[in-house]
Symmetry: C2
Subunit: 343 residues, 2 copies
Amino acid sequence: MTPSSDDGRARTRPAVLDDVAELAGVSAMTVSRALNAPDRVRPETRARVMAAVNKLGYRPNPAARQLVTGRSGVLGVVSFDTTLYGPASTLYAIEQAARQNDYVVNIASLGALNRRSIGEGVERLRAQSVDGIVIVAPHESAADGLRHLSPGLPVVAVDAGEDIPVPVVMVDQRGGAVRATRHLLSLGHETVWHLSGPPNWIDARGRVEGWRSVLEAEGRPVPEAAAGDWSAYSGYRLGKRLAGDPSVTAVFVANDQMTLGVLRALREAGRRVPEDVSVVGFDDVPEAAYFWPPLTTVRQNFGEVGRHAFRLLLDRIQGTEQEGPRIVEPELVVRESSGPAPH
Amino acid sequence: MTPSSDDGRARTRPAVLDDVAELAGVSAMTVSRALNAPDRVRPETRARVMAAVNKLGYRPNPAARQLVTGRSGVLGVVSFDTTLYGPASTLYAIEQAARQNDYVVNIASLGALNRRSIGEGVERLRAQSVDGIVIVAPHESAADGLRHLSPGLPVVAVDAGEDIPVPVVMVDQRGGAVRATRHLLSLGHETVWHLSGPPNWIDARGRVEGWRSVLEAEGRPVPEAAAGDWSAYSGYRLGKRLAGDPSVTAVFVANDQMTLGVLRALREAGRRVPEDVSVVGFDDVPEAAYFWPPLTTVRQNFGEVGRHAFRLLLDRIQGTEQEGPRIVEPELVVRESSGPAPH
DNA sequence: GCTCTGATTGTTAGCGCTATCAGCTGGGGC
DNA sequence: GCCCCAGCTGATAGCGCTAACAATCAGAGC
């Protein structure tokens, strides 16, 4: 199992293929085959080789292997701020999927989101000879950056909108927003206000579109949407403005963090949730069920997104261009922050 | 800047060192030097080489370089659940620091925390020939796993407790808990209850110790601490029990997520915060200021932790064994969830 | 003029592995 | 008996790069 230490001599350098070959009494090539294509070696020989491998604690040198095969077994993930729940969860899912397929994951977090930084992230990974890249950056600059990619490396994107020269896995933001808005209308609210995410974020846009489309289809007044920056602080600030307007009875907020701020603003203004105002968030972060009141929100299945993205990338790397699912449907989770419209 | 495409011929294979050498009219070695040790090449020659590099869009092959130098420029980070705020922030900081020093980061997230999984994570990274590893796993099993590491690879740990055969960067959990507890006592509370994290987590233990030590030093009654699992749900469940006991006027909770659950439990029981019960959390997640009421909590500077860990690892890789700071002091952030004891 | 020195460049070899083809064996078909 | 083929193993070469040493050259010193 572990390198033997029972032979008295101190270990000088790590074992290489030739050491194993010598110990097993075969050629280096046979060792290589025993490891990489076991069926092409007689079982008995294979057993001898494996014994030698274990005895010496041999580990293949990936650099040498890559040099000759051209593949590294490493995937790159370019992402913005992996501290946020969404990107972190997606990254996590990609990493899990990658591990199960014997890939490791190399990350390039971006300090800022713009076309240049995306390009830099990709270049940094490419310089490491990754076999493929997943770009998690649901921002319009990402779309922009993706159009200027140097070719020759499999790339897939997550939540990058349409009109992109690479395959994209996305959550149906629009659909999620539609569900949230319909839910509020179905509770008797005359219309629904919206606090959006930053307008240059792809998913923020999708949510605005979904929300607006429902109101328009139903012939409801469409209040102006104010944009936050995803933070609880921005939700609080915008929420204070909304709280002062007694005609506001239903608010759909772009994410759960902002919603937390909105809830506080409403409370400070003495408006009860859901009796006076119904609130619906987006994401379903693990804490959403413990907000006060427990938050009705739209759950994004980031795990599924990550797994699809990995699968799509793997297909491109292997040239097996089967079309996997690329749209993940979010799900409305009704809790207590939404209720019947006050009369 | 970009590979030239003005030469008419279609690009067949990526340029290698010899291609650059030929175009520049020098030997391969000179190109290598121009790239890696610019002062050892005449400026004029260097300029010719760089021109050829740009013209061909040449990128060094890291596998080939690694094969001969023995260094990969890759660091590994082993971490448990990078979805959580703490690990995610630490990872992020490590990655940023690594980037600034021309390292890239490979991640190995663990699905479970036990001795075997830690070993597997390390092995997986080691199999990729990383130059060093940071282990972010503040769990007793990590400590255990660290004692069984195969040697020969620089490793540092984050929050791994004492008694570990590798250098450790840690947040002074004890100190943070002491500050939180003293703060509550200073507000006139007779004693402080504690809801802890899982007992086999190193930092959960440190917080318990700090809390207990203050109560003992002050001769206050030491209530039994109940253990949660870091989740808001567990905080809610444990909080309900505390909420039923009217003698409870001050609670120190092991992290902010659990605190969110506690706040909800108290509210449901009709106990006001901070008028009836003061609550202090730990971590200062970005949302803590928007809890209701805004949360008094202990801020951990994960960024600093990550940077120190990287620096420490780099020192070990380079053999420059200067002692950097290894303890990061957390800071009490007083907001509105703590107040004077009721009489 | 001649040697010596330092700056610059080139040559050789090899890092550890696998692709490719060659060699060897034994058994089946004729 | 002979050939052929499949099954297994080995020899050789080379992936792209850099460490180590060798070679070259101009100018300094005598």
